[in-house]
């Protein structure tokens, strides 16, 4: 891979052990500025653990995470967030007891002064067509709507790198296609790492795909080539009726 631009995010020798289990084994990974990368792999391949090492939900056993040339391995989650990394988790991580407006405001207020924060909230609500839900308590919304709220929270921070863990989980077809559009649009201004299971969705958004297996990177290639790859089929695609 010859990319002239410096990577926005790198890992070097990243390893995560849980007791005797090596969930992520010495992974060297690199994401170019502006790139959209999908992480796939069978269950237990280590992609979610790898993802959580990036967000510092887990403290890696060994190795380094490097963001824009700085080692952020030892940073706290809130410090990583302040550097412009937005995180969306597998199960929507939102403020369930608060309404949609408040959820987004809490994100907006971190980056804007008081008055501007309200404006930023309105913009995001409009962009994600969540306006009609603004006064609704998030805990009472449908799963797909909560996913939308979480995306709104993440986007409000204008992140330069966004980490998405299964963004389409639990969404309807319509919501998936809207999210596809959304991710393409986001990718114009931000780099993305997406962990996903939905192959149709990956085919729709991905240029390059990283396949995890047993804690290591098995293949890194375009979606087209990955789908042709016999090794990948053996460990993963052979077990599922996709593509």
């Amino acid at each position: 891979m010859t990319d002239a631009r410096p990577p926005i995010l790198e890992t070097r020798g990243l390893t995560m052990r849980f007791g005797g289990v090596v969930a992520v084994d010495n992974v060297d990974f690199s994401l170019a500025e502006g790139e959209l990368r999908c992480l796939i792999g069978p269950n237990g391949a280590g992609k979610t653990t790898f993802f959580r090492c990036l967000t510092h939900q887990y403290k890696p056993t060994a190795g380094h995470v490097i963001y824009r040339g700085d080692d952020i391995t030892g940073s706290h989650t809130h410090q990583i967030a302040r550097r412009g990394i937005g995180i969306k988790t597998q199960v929507p991580s939102v403020f369930d007891g608060l309404n949609v407006h408040e959820n987004i405001w809490l994100s907006a207020r971190r980056h804007h002064k008081d008055r501007d924060a309200d404006k930023a909230v309105d913009q995001i609500l409009e962009r994600l067509s969540l306006g009609h839900l603004a006064k609704k308590v998030v805990g009472q919304l449908a799963h797909g709507e909560r996913q939308g709220v979480e995306l709104g929270i993440v986007l409000t921070g204008d992140p330069e790198l966004i980490l998405l863990d299964e963004p389409t989980a639990g969404m309807t077809h319509e919501e998936v296609s809207r999210t596809t559009e959304m991710i393409r649009e986001i990718n114009r201004t931000a780099s993305l790492i997406v962990v996903e299971h939905d192959m149709q969705f990956i085919k729709a958004i991905a240029n390059k795909v990283t396949v995890f297996n047993q804690g290591t990177i098995l293949v890194e290639d375009t979606m087209e080539n990955v789908l042709k790859n016999q090794e990948v089929r053996d460990v993963y695609l052979g077990k599922r009726e996709v593509a």
Binding site: T77, H78, T89, S93, D96, E102, S107, D114, K135
Partner: protein, 357 residues
Amino acid sequence: MKISLDLKSWNTHGLIFVGVLMLALLLAGPEVFDLFVLLKVILFISTAMLALSMAFIWGFGGILCFGQSAFFGLGAYAYAIGVINIGESTVPILLSVLIPAGFAILLGYFMFYGRLSDIYLAVVTLAVTLIFYAFIRSTSGEEYVIGNARLMGFNGISSIPVFNWPGFPNSPLWPDDIFYVAMTLLILVYFSLRILLRSHFGRVIVAIRENETRAEYLGYDVRFYKMIAFSIGAGVAGLAGCLFVSFNNFINPDVFALGLAAQIIMWVLIGGVGTLVGPMLGSLALQMLYNWLGTQSFVSFLNTYLVFGAIIIFFVLAVPQGLQPTARLLALRFLPFTRSPEEAEEAARARQGSGDD
């Protein structure tokens, strides 16, 4: 301008209602109560303030501190030792807030930056108050002196000077005046906490209660916010302790004991976790019940704590939300004028919707 803007999103009816009620009590107090009752009311104000501190950190900060009594006791002792040494009450009143708040910063630093889980936090704070209890009880010896103040161990410190007019140590306040001071402080603290909860800081505190991880993903340093909230709660509890001393001129280590520590939790639980007024009423109700049980002969075979235990079980099972939220729900249901415009809209929609379902 800004305040009035924010007011829209407050439960304005509720705030006005509480404000009017408190002001009425403030103005009418010494007129309607005789001296004996007035002194009791000052005690109730002190416990209401303590309930308020717990309501804030638990109901809004999500910090279940099982040793809030430690800060109450610290505030009380800080005032007592301060006023005995200084001979004037203004600085000791400040000390009764600052010392517990400062101690809470220290304790909070270790607990929150050490990432103690909720259950360990409850245990540690309980241990802290019991350590104070054991320590102060063991200070009867003459060697335990701070300046002019002997700690007196389990006997407690008596003849503690009451509040005086600021700068005039020889003009002590009469019970009427102490009532005015206590009630004014309660009103100020209540509305300050309400304003705080509408500020950026307050909204983040509530967000952390809702979802700590998401607050971190947004870039908020959760440890710092919790430490500060914990410290504010400790300062309010300390002020309550100071009022407690001013009411009976006496303090002993029982304020650190398990009994009070557990009662504070009960006040909030019964009044309603996540509200401010509820726990104040909860403390009032339980205190009055406690006094009433003490005057009844039939309870000679019934331990007061047994009755309290039964009440807490009843509340957890039958009124899990607590008094205030339940009363509010009933009011919204049966008294339409208590609804805010949004709630009225919601109710109207619900009525329409129920036809379709």
